[in-house]
Symmetry: C2
Subunit: 719 residues, 2 copies
Amino acid sequence: MEKKRFTLPIEAGCENIVNDIIKKWGADAVRNSDGTEMDSFFENLGLKIYATYFPTRNDQEWAKNNRNELQQIYLLSDRFTAKSETLEIDIMQSYFSEQFEIHDEDSPHKYWQVIDRTTGEEVSTSFWNYDSNTKKVIIKETKLWHVYTVGFLAKQIWDVTQMYNHLTNDWGDKHHEMPYDPAFPKTRAHILEDLESWLVNHPNVNVVRFTSFFYHFTVVYNQHKQQKFGDWFGYSASISVPAIENFKKEFGYDLKSEDIIDQGYYGTAYRVPSPAFKDYMEYQQKFVSDFAKECVDLVHKYKKEAIMFIGDNWIGTEPFGEHFSNIGLDAVVGSTSDGLGIRMISDISDVKYREVRFLPYFFPDLFNDDNDPSIEASEIWIKSRRALMINLLDRMGYGGYLSLAMKYPKFVDTVTLITDQFNDIHNKTENTKVSFLPIKVGILNAWGKIKAWQCNRTGHVSGRKESRPYTGILEALSGMPFDVNFINFEDIKNGVLKDYNVIINMGSRDTAWTGGEYWKDAEVVSKIREWVFNGGAFIGAGAPTACQHNGAFFQLSDILGVDKETENTINFSKRDKLSEKKHFITKHLNIKSIETGFGERGVYATSEQTEILGYDSIEGIQLATHTFGKGRSVYMSGMPYSEINNSIVFRSILWASCNENNTDAVFSDNLFVEGYLYKNKNLIAVLNNSFDTQKAILKLQGKEYKVELSAMKLHWINL
Amino acid sequence: MEKKRFTLPIEAGCENIVNDIIKKWGADAVRNSDGTEMDSFFENLGLKIYATYFPTRNDQEWAKNNRNELQQIYLLSDRFTAKSETLEIDIMQSYFSEQFEIHDEDSPHKYWQVIDRTTGEEVSTSFWNYDSNTKKVIIKETKLWHVYTVGFLAKQIWDVTQMYNHLTNDWGDKHHEMPYDPAFPKTRAHILEDLESWLVNHPNVNVVRFTSFFYHFTVVYNQHKQQKFGDWFGYSASISVPAIENFKKEFGYDLKSEDIIDQGYYGTAYRVPSPAFKDYMEYQQKFVSDFAKECVDLVHKYKKEAIMFIGDNWIGTEPFGEHFSNIGLDAVVGSTSDGLGIRMISDISDVKYREVRFLPYFFPDLFNDDNDPSIEASEIWIKSRRALMINLLDRMGYGGYLSLAMKYPKFVDTVTLITDQFNDIHNKTENTKVSFLPIKVGILNAWGKIKAWQCNRTGHVSGRKESRPYTGILEALSGMPFDVNFINFEDIKNGVLKDYNVIINMGSRDTAWTGGEYWKDAEVVSKIREWVFNGGAFIGAGAPTACQHNGAFFQLSDILGVDKETENTINFSKRDKLSEKKHFITKHLNIKSIETGFGERGVYATSEQTEILGYDSIEGIQLATHTFGKGRSVYMSGMPYSEINNSIVFRSILWASCNENNTDAVFSDNLFVEGYLYKNKNLIAVLNNSFDTQKAILKLQGKEYKVELSAMKLHWINL
């Protein structure tokens, strides 16, 4: 079997071992580790050569000599309570002075805002001033006992990624790299010059790995040098005075600090975006893609490929946004630890190839004598492999110090197995897609396509207790043969429902994921009701359609057959209990209560037709079904990923879309074993998603297939 | 020791045993059981005689002959989704046809409302009609896929209490008693006539026990003869066309069905009351108290006493309302099972005496060979006794079938012990109050005084999982030597804070108990901030001051030092962990996690000064303290009643009000033992709140007292 499709991180000192590992892992490309240069030994192995380039911090001399063109950020001061008529606010009180410097060269009265958070009113500039000596904002004639904040501009005087590495590895007085901003025309021109000179000086590099383009996702440290706020999707560190001025020219209105700061919530992905925030995202995507295209064109001019790392300075690139294709990238590479992350990379269109850099990094935190890094690598592979069966990536790789990984032979063997299976999938399927069931699934939230596979999470590897009940559903879906898409409420209004079989709305109340006030929109609820009534499937998880309004909390409780007890209906009797009938969704399981994680509590049946499939006396309803006309609905209070919940999600979608009897669906009697049908190849791929030997009987197309699979096995059945 | 103060329920057939039990329990009064008449044997025992009278159902001939003057109710139909242009709504679909009959004699177009619940708009009467043949409302030209409801008037054709007994005891074709309404002048006159004739015919009765006056709390059954909705505080079953018309004369505006129906939530105590709902309560209290006064005056004319049962038809009497004293009652009697219930009776003013009818009833559900009813009686006594130490009731009693209770000698002995202790407290304290600590506590919610000791509950004995985290705090307080009052947001604005040392705000978000939108009121938050800053104590439990507004969820998070993660701040790092320092509130306990019941989840520290005393990795912060100027605050995520939580509440109030070192506070080293100081009597009462022998050391006034108490013991120490 020919093995290839692997990008190997290399470093000086690995010359002796590298040939062996190239063979074992099937490497056909090498890349330098972060911060190291490639030497000629590696350049002459006959492999493709990737090299990392940082457009906005590659030239630190430029940063030092043009401090007025450093990147900026909008920050909100702490909340201060007015205890006397004059209130002094130390705006940097809870920020890290080595990361930020107050930006007061451009009029604070023009670009900053003081807000009375008790009333929500902006304080007129005639009542406040910034004192550049004390670095405080002084508010006069306050309303006593009201809470005030100052939204202000700061300069970013330390690049986030370098700061993290610097502090973590205790780099002492090593120079703090500072990011400069292409929103300034002079810097923009310089970046192109610097890139061209870099291209000229790196003739042997085949692939320029942009890490990434211009604006880093938001990471803010506090006065104790600890992370205070981190938003992998955040736009607040992409703002600047020139961006504000250019925005005004394009959109015709002033962007205010509050439009970005958003009461201190910084417009995270969990927030239903305001019109101004969406305009700003649009502005920044256009700006970023236009200038990134210039960079990529330059790369192409030197006959090299351009690949973008999804992460770090990726803000504004939005791989699922409308401007992404304009950049003209050859490829993307992203880091992941699960199937959901795989799909976020593999579902990107308009590039020639897609690559994953699997976790874990070859770093000492996991590669040490107290830990077996092969376990994490295996777990990640098992989750990722499911998603690769659905939408295969072109290449894979790892990151970190190769010399460190080499010290762990079990890890080396595990990656050998992983690369074997990765190549096996490629070779067996030969770019033929798995056979999809005729079920088009739409994940409905306030964002839609632009946050495809990024829902209900705070970052690309986040696993917060609040997220897991919903990312578990996405994780399950990432490895299922359904056409999964991401839609928003405008799409609903524009008639998209006719193209879908299943709509899923999931998350907590008053978040972008469920949609909040959008559920007050009569057009939205009417269109969904009509569609479900005529046969659509509606799946809700957590607080779907939640918005306290006119006597209901779940606005589509008529469809769902459940609502949440917000204590408005506490006086109504509830007699919820598990349905005594077997139901398609759970009949294969022998459980009454379901693992719901930090899912919604207090959900109860609003209809006598509601069938309760999971119930807990404290939590309330965990899983229930209901019908509405020809349509079906499933409610789940939370579904953190597990083998059991994976099967519940699969069967819920089949049941809700009336596909219980679809003969192309692959049913396994063992929760750890899943099968994938490739009709055009007459193949079934069978996965053992566990570390133990598993026996299973697979049923599909009216036939049964008995299998016995060793740990992690990928097995092929010829039909 | 002289024993008295006990009202004995008697029945024919108990003549042989009654003298023995009178002696054992110290009975000085007898009353008939519900539905039984007293015979002359009991009338001649030389005891005071109570007899039950039902003003609005005593004369069922009147009810039959005046069906048009039966009591009415506002009901909301189910929510119907418009699937075609014409929508027919079977308004009685989910109601019990033996309980209610549609009231259509008075114009449905005038008194009913059809509402589009998708938009919240009322549907013009030109688009709907009621068809009295089909008993349906037909809506024309609907907005497709919108949800519609009909709010309509029904007649109450079965008295709730009799219905319950009838159905529970399977009384077959026994006449269904129907309640008539004194809002009709003819019926009002008849009630007085009937009462007078009853008084004339019952010359031996000393005390007329009104059970109660006119309007029953709301209990609504569904089509399956099961309870659908029950609100012990509910006003929806007191409405009628004459009430609506009289209301208009007094208040100058039309009361609409929606004002009572409240989107289907029926203005329960959990709802922040609307201005119209409050006006209606005021109207009904005035009406009820005026007419009740006429009834009581008649009782007095016949030289009898009038006592009111707090429950059943008590709506509009509001013992803590402004019109109650106008009734001129001699006494009140209420049913209870805990200390909180005791205080709801014992804190009533403007009557000569107050009586408790303890649970359990002598009914076969608990008095059977599979159950030991003495256990429930003991548990109720242990909880109630704490509250009686603080505000003693004048009398006690039980209800039900005496003959049944007699069959359980252990129960008889238990009540003997209880009555011994009840009399002992009276005799030892001789109406001297326990010595209060100088701490005035205000429970702040949207209702204030009118719902004193009725907060965070759905009825007088409710123990729902949603309530317990907060009623546990009230239960703890009911037996503590603090001056506890109940205040609302108007009181705050009117300057009441100066009289208080501690304010408590507790419950779930968007309920009357925490206050919802009231927390957007700048005057409210400013006044509380100023008061705390100058030394006030603010205790919050659950979602105190919760209202998503201007960047905070807990509006007084600056005081509390905590807020709840509503996923707006999910991207902010949290490093909450238990404080390593010992704190006054918990230093006596050896626990890290606290039993919080169904309390609030996801609360985190917003200040570095917040001290976390209880933490759970899933729930979040359970108990925390913070300071604000000279003031102190305590946050509790939930405090269901237990010995541990009782001690946490006690010490929290002492700490928050800076009374840790108050030498009159009684500290016990055993959580099951509490002491009560009577300075004027030089006594300490010591309670063993358990069924085991307990040893304890009590500390107060700089001294220590060692005690050893048998199970349930009430012990007195002479200082």
